[in-house]
Symmetry: C2
Subunit: 214 residues, 2 copies
DNA sequence: CCTACCGATCGGTAGG
DNA sequence: CCTACCGATCGGTAGG
């Protein structure tokens, strides 16, 4: 019965990765050692190792697992996502809610991983760069769409808006992880609202509710 | 001649720490291994080890060395620092210039270290938290002073201003380290200017030059 | 400051 | 999936 064996293998692999993402959000991708992860899963080192073939493959699999969770929780699988100004507000508040849930003990997985990989060239770094860039582009695309539809002023710089919103989200994560500052999420929401409002044209502002973010 | 021996020891210790801060900004405080650092300095492991007594003492010494550089480069040793609105602008642009200098290969030492230590309770984490908090408080104090002197509007929240400016500085560092985006420093300067301008009272705005940050 | 060493743990392999 | 093992490296120590 090879089919059943396969599905069991897949299930075990998924269970391994759930634990591995959690460990990596705390210990980092280097601190995620095969021995420690095996012990945490009550498996032998080589038994776990056989699922991935190398530490780098394990790291890449962990990154994909974290990205999938991110897409589901924040991007809603790309499903019913609004575009433009509402999309920007939606993505931001989805991210903040996602972080407040505390799915990863170490906070935002990608924040924990970025500073770790930025000096280590290779496929792991490349994948993290790609995923981070696509998240920033999602924010920038929403801002660009808002400008094109006239919600945002013509002189709005979408990349600048994305830079600012991303800065606030990351700062909320940092402040919460390092200082345990729960108010950081509210500060970020307030700052994002200011940035969005500053770009919004008067006509659009008059037509929309003032308190959309959180 | 014990005096000369002492000063030589001090000089060597400083030379070790200069190298150690550089390594730690790239590899992190855990990745800063005694063996690797010894090899980089053409010393024996135990010879280097004798200067610190434990890895944790080495990590704490590295943090103090980085903090001292930060005080010298950004805070100007607390010397001729202006307060209020000008102080805020001065601290921000000093930080951006400091980062563009590229003194640490890994970018901002404290950014690299924060996400590493935030899940590891102990004296190393405590010291990083304390130094990070005092930097944020320097920004917040300047904003509070600006409000008290009437440069900033009465309803300004100094902690919110500090949150936003710190977010922009950190995002510039992140964007530069991960994406090699040199424009990030200009984006941060522009965003900081907006935040400061938004808090500034009309009378103060009319009396000051519009392009202070960078 | 050195050589020489300790036990523990790392990523990875052999063989089943 | 396991036991048993490899060479390399870790933080740290002994003794000089």
């Amino acid at each position: 019965m090879p089919r059943r064996t396969d599905s069991q293998t897949t299930l075990l692999r998924q269970a391994i990765l759930v634990r591995a993402v959690d460990v990596a959000s705390v210990e980092g991708l280097e601190g995620l050692t095969i021995g420690r992860l095996a012990t945490a899963l009550s498996m032998s080192k080589s038994g776990l190792f056989a699922h991935f073939g190398s530490k780098q493959e394990l790291q890449l699999a962990v990154i994909e697992a974290a990205a999938e969770t991110f897409r589901r929780e924040v991007m809603q699988d790309g499903g019913a996502l609004p575009g433009g100004r509402a999309g920007l507000v939606h993505l931001s508040s989805a991210w903040l809610r996602y972080m407040e849930k505390g799915l990863f003990r170490g906070g935002c997985f990608f924040a924990a991983v970025c500073s770790e990989v930025d000096d280590r060239p290779g496929p792991v770094r490349d994948r993290v760069v790609e995923l981070t860039r696509s998240w920033l582009e999602a924010l920038e695309d929403s801002a660009a769409q808002a400008r094109e539809s006239g919600e945002f002023a013509a002189e709005t710089d979408p990349a600048q808006v994305a830079f600012e919103i991303h800065a606030f989200l990351q700062e909320a994560n940092r402040s919460f992880q390092l200082h345990g500052d729960g108010a950081a999420f509210r500060r970020a929401a307030r700052a994002i609202r200011q940035t969005v409002d500053a770009a919004t044209t008067p006509a659009t502002a008059a037509a929309t509710l003032p308190d959309h973010v959180r």
